[in-house]
């Protein structure tokens, strides 16, 4: 019998990582299915007919799409362990604002702004512009973090889950972009290392070396090498 919760995902996806982390924060047992995005499974096409994208969270046979929405859903369905969103409406709105900021500024989607693709998959002036934009986005996030241990304060939560998946891509950005993110954003890197100490995060993020290989493949595909 299939498990109650199935996650259709793709291992380097920072969006999929959000949902993996949220499920693990709640201690929800789930079946992970890695999709081949060049030949999407009939289940993926059936469960996300509108966007045809991973991640898709299937709970009792019913799909929930879009990672930020999945994380909120998980928090609402399993509210008792490790709350993800703050309980105060104003703090909730602020947390949603920052996850929306990450989605708008760092989204990998084909129709949106993607400073970080320029960082690792272009050359020359375009790459320099991309690096500048990317660092500016990270500095905005670092400034929001301030001296707090996590974005929401003392507890790991929604914005941390929204952002931490990008950290596995940092070594690749640094290698192919020939720059140091830690030199620019030391507090953000300290925050990421703090997050990595959580089992839910460590278990959900792939080995950065594997991501570097994946990015090298994408560079070839984009014709950079």
């Amino acid at each position: 019998m299939a498990k109650e919760v199935i996650l259709l995902d793709f291992w380097p996806s920072m969006y999929g990582m959000r949902t993996r982390i949220a499920l693990r924060e709640k201690g929800v047992d789930f079946e992970y299915r890695d999709e081949n995005l060049r030949e999407k499974s009939p289940l993926l096409l059936q469960m996300n007919p509108v966007h045809k994208k991973i991640p898709v969270l299937i709970h009792n046979g019913k799909p929930v799409c879009e990672s930020a929405i999945q994380v909120q859903y998980i928090d609402e369905v399993w509210p008792h362990k490790n709350p993800i969103l703050p309980s105060d409406p104003y703090q909730r709105a602020q947390a949603r604002f920052w996850v929306d900021f990450i989605d708008k500024k760092l989204c990998l989607g084909d129709q949106m702004y993607e400073a970080q693709r320029k960082v690792y998959a272009t050359k020359g002036e375009e790459q320099e512009t991309g690096k500048k934009e990317f660092i500016e986005i990270l500095k905005t996030l670092e400034s929001e973090l301030g001296d707090k241990p996590y974005f929401g304060g003392d507890d790991f939560g929604y914005v941390d889950i929204g952002l931490i998946g990008f950290y596995t891509w940092f070594p690749g950005y640094e290698k192919f972009g020939n720059f140091s993110i830690e030199a620019e954003c030391p507090k953000l890197i300290a925050w990421a290392k703090r997050c990595m100490q959580r089992e839910s995060v460590a278990k959900s993020l792939p080995d950065p070396e594997k991501v570097v290989e994946f990015m090298a493949m994408l560079r070839k595909k984009f014709g950079v090498e």
Copy 2:
């Protein structure tokens, strides 16, 4: 003394309309301030330093940005009258999915996909492509609506608020795009007329004739005329 709730907005904004409607659904008294987007007020820049965009909802001196987040905030702060989001977590996730779909597909932002701008502010082949894409998006929404009176079922709610503001732009799309939306999507137009019977909606949407004039100005700005 300033009111407890202030809305920084711009009258033709379908995003601002969402927040106006939500506040009126809840019976919240608010001060409306129309911004000059070519010369943004110091208050707007102070309250939304990240995006510098309207609408901004200011509640007791503190800002909430992004219309979809504002509507959820309003629903959480004033929960007792006219619930906006469904109470069931799965239905909430579905409602969030469709508002996110509207944001991704119909957003007017400069960095995103904007089929509808092509409809009224381009010519020839680009305009024809835009019309085809725009109608496809509306048909997807119409299919989700199905035979229900509102997107969430029997009650006016989150997705209705998310979409209805676009309706004031329809006469302009039709005039400048030289096509009929009603002929393509009769159920969606019937839904829009149903929404317009609500006082919260009727009070929050501008006269479509004024929007047509505004769009004519934009066409000049975009160099179409």
